[in-house]
């Protein structure tokens, strides 16, 4: 019994928390170019809804992913247009993307539900089939770990791939280096001939599109049932904003952070069965109120944020120009 619970716990840890990875990597792309985009929650909501609807109506998983990326990307475009071109305040713009995005989610979702009828995921055979787990040969045969880490749907593998590729891109490519320069010191990058606006637009759009896939994931993960009260994203976007800090703006660390934060999210559900399976080792878990798990990611992030600011600025990894708009003539 213990082995089954452990496997189930690890499996859920991966399957429920990969959307955090998408949201976090997307936000890292934003913040690395100096844009604190607080619209993650709304961007993911828009991506989730349109991805799901288009995917089901066209009966195509690929079109669903594309739609999620395009519509979330439009949220990014809105953010970029207002903060980069129109020089509007980033905090206000980002928060409004969240408000607007959630408004769109409920307005369109409710409207489709009432007027057209909600499309079911099972009816869209290709989407349902595409969501099925695709065990990796050989690796998935390893006891416990095989089931927990190598028997997932393609979105899990895709998310990990995106995180690793993003890490490589930011660390080792010329474009990645320039992108980081834009986030650290846009004036200096500008004087070296880097097109600041183009870099900002490109990475905000790319980051938002990645968030959109995360949203689509969340929709499919609950079988596309429309949630009229809490919504599909239900705070994951905000955890992603926190996770960026925990991950120190590094997509590879985001992978690790996703699982650390994920442990708490998963414990909310698995607390009782873990205690039942391992009463000796984990009996003390029962003394912890479940909501402590929900709060822990934010408490940990607050501590990390605090510790980062106490240490020397150069060690905290936060892009120096994050949150600051760049207006060339103000130099």
């Amino acid at each position: 019994m213990g082995v089954e619970v452990l496997t189930g716990f690890l499996y859920s840890l991966v399957v429920y928390n990969i959307p955090l990875l998408y949201g976090t990597v997307g936000e890292i792309f934003n913040e690395k170019t100096g844009s604190l985009n607080l619209g993650v929650e709304g961007t993911m909501a828009v991506g989730s809804l349109f991805g799901y609807l288009v995917g089901c109506w066209c009966n195509s998983l690929l079109l669903g992913i594309l739609a999620a990326m395009v519509f979330a990307g439009l949220c990014g475009l809105l953010f970029a247009f207002f903060t980069v071109t129109l020089q509007a305040n980033q905090n206000v713009t980002g928060l409004t993307i969240t408000t607007l995005g959630l408004g769109i989610y409920y307005f369109v979702g409710h409207g489709v539900n009432k007027n057209l009828g909600w499309p079911s995921m099972q009816a869209a055979a290709n989407v349902a089939a595409g969501w099925k787990a695709q065990p990796i040969p050989l690796l998935s045969d390893i006891p416990i770990i095989g089931k927990a880490f190598f028997s997932h749907n393609i979105f899990v593998y895709l998310g990990v791939l995106i995180a690793v590729l993003s890490w490589w891109y930011m660390k080792y490519t010329k474009a990645g280096l320039r992108m980081r320069a834009v986030g650290e010191n846009p004036a200096a990058a500008d004087s070296c001939g880097v097109n600041i606006n183009r870099y900002k637009y490109a990475h905000i759009l790319l980051g938002s599109a990645i968030m959109g896939i995360g949203g689509y994931y969340m929709a499919l993960n609950i079988s596309g049932e429309y949630l009229a009260s809490t919504g599909w994203i239900n705070g994951y976007g905000w955890i992603a904003v926190a996770l960026v800090i925990f991950a120190k703006w590094n997509p590879a660390r985001a992978l690790l952070g996703t699982f650390v934060f994920g442990i708490f999210k998963t414990l909310e559900v698995y607390n009782d069965s873990i205690v039942a399976a391992f009463p000796k080792a984990f009996g003390w878990l029962n003394a912890i109120p479940l909501k402590v798990y929900t709060a822990l990611p934010f408490i940990i992030t607050a501590v990390v944020l605090f510790a980062g600011s106490v240490r020397k600025k150069s060690k905290s990894n936060q892009p120096a120009a994050v949150g600051v708009n760049y207006y060339r003539e103000d130099r």
Binding site: L36, L38, L78, F82, T85, L86, Q87, A88, N89, N91, V92, T93, L95, T96, I97, T98, T99, L100, G101, L102, G103, I104, Y106, F107, G109, H110, G111, K114, N115, A228, G235, W238, V241, A242, I245, P289, L290, K291, V292, T294, A295, F298, I299, T301, A302, L305, F306, S309, V310, K313, Q318, G323, E329
Partner: protein
């Protein structure tokens, strides 16, 4: 080759600026109307329902419960206006207090603690006074910590207040789930964990005019707005806030104690938000995680729409309250439209106004280049 350049332009006259903003709002409402038409709803009748906040019945007569609707609108307006004004105090200093939600909840929890733990202390008025004081003190601590960290270590206040929001939110959620001897916030009568209403002990007094009862909280809040207006415009503190907001360097050079000003202002900002939590708690019933009704977020939008001007904030808060409460009323009649259409509309309006801001601040010139 011709290239377009964005250049700052001279200040427009107030009249022309207002025209731009009105055009922006009209454009936003027009877009909303198009969306409503797509769901098969007549936008004119929807907007009519929204703007009259359910005081007019479907047959076009004044509803017999119209007074009730105005009372409910006031319940929405009071916390929003106080939160928005409080946020604007911090924003004037370019201190990004996006922790309104958390400070609001912490204030409400502290206010609820007084009667739920000690019962009525002395009389109703004294109890209410102590509740208000507790709310302000607790919220001030919650916001003050962030200001202190910012001043002492340069900790990013935007992200820190954001984290504090969620810590406060899940603390309230925890209080709502844990039945225990120490947890005075739950109803002892109920088997299931259920928040106990402070109405068991205290009620906010009201002036009754016929059937209509005008809550004292509205009067208090309006007086507070006037006080904040004078604080920002006429006092030394207010001047210091605007200098720090313009340039910390200038403030330091002028011999101002910047750290102290930041902490002091943030204490004030968060204490007022805590007070808003107290007013909401005493007017809208028991504690809950949704007690804030998103005023911490909406307040940021309101403060920004009103350009941090206190009088503007009062007017904008009223309009946004009508929009939000009106949409919830309209959704009763128009089943096809979710009540959170208000969020969508609010977002579109803000973007339209931000675009108008740009047109007002900058102009685009075409330049010939070799």
């Amino acid at each position: 080759m011709k290239r377009y350049h964005i250049v700052k332009r001279d200040l427009l006259t107030p009249g022309r600026r207002i025209v731009f903003y009105l055009l922006a709002i009209a454009a936003a409402l027009l877009l909303g109307a198009l969306l409503l038409m797509m769901t098969g709803v007549n936008p004119l009748s929807y907007y009519f329902k929204m703007l009259t906040i359910g005081t007019v019945t479907d047959s076009g007569e004044l509803s017999r419960l119209a007074y009730k609707q105005v009372e409910n609108l006031i319940k929405v307006f009071v916390p929003l206006v106080l939160t928005s004004v409080a946020l604007s105090v911090a924003f004037k200093m370019k201190f990004w207090n996006i922790g309104g939600e958390g400070q609001f909840l912490v204030g409400a929890v502290a206010a609820a603690f007084i009667p739920l733990k000690f019962g009525v202390i002395g009389n109703q008025a004294l109890t209410l006074l102590l509740m208000a004081a507790a709310a302000m003190a607790a919220a001030a601590v919650w916001g003050g910590i962030v200001a202190l960290l910012k001043v002492r270590f340069g900790t990013n206040e935007t992200l820190m207040t954001l984290m504090f929001n969620y810590i406060a939110l899940y603390f309230v959620a925890l209080l709502g789930e844990e039945k225990a001897g120490w947890n005075v916030f739950l109803d002892p009568e109920s088997q299931r964990p259920l928040f106990r209403s402070v109405w068991d002990f205290v009620t906010m007094p009201a002036i009754t005019i016929g059937k209509f009862s005008l809550s004292w909280s509205l009067l208090f809040v309006l007086v507070l707005c006037i006080l904040v207006y004078f604080y920002l415009k006429k006092t030394k503190h207010g001047y210091e806030i605007s200098v720090v907001g313009d340039s910390i360097g200038t403030a330091k050079y002028a011999g101002m104690k910047v750290g102290r000003i930041i902490v002091r202002t943030m204490l004030l900002s968060s204490a007022l938000i805590g007070l808003a939590g107290f007013f909401k708690l005493t007017s809208a019933g028991p504690l809950s995680t949704s007690l804030t009704d998103s005023v911490g977020w909406t307040g940021i939008v309101v403060a920004w729409l009103a350009k941090l001007d206190t009088v503007g904030i009062v007017i904008t808060s009223l309009l946004i309250s009508i929009l939000r409460f009106g949409c919830s009323q309209a959704s009763v009649t128009f089943g096809a439209v979710d009540s959170r259409f208000a969020d969508l509309l609010q977002g579109v309006i803000l973007f339209a106004v931000l675009a108008a801001d740009f047109v007002i601040r900058f102009k685009i010139v075409k330049k010939e280049e070799a």
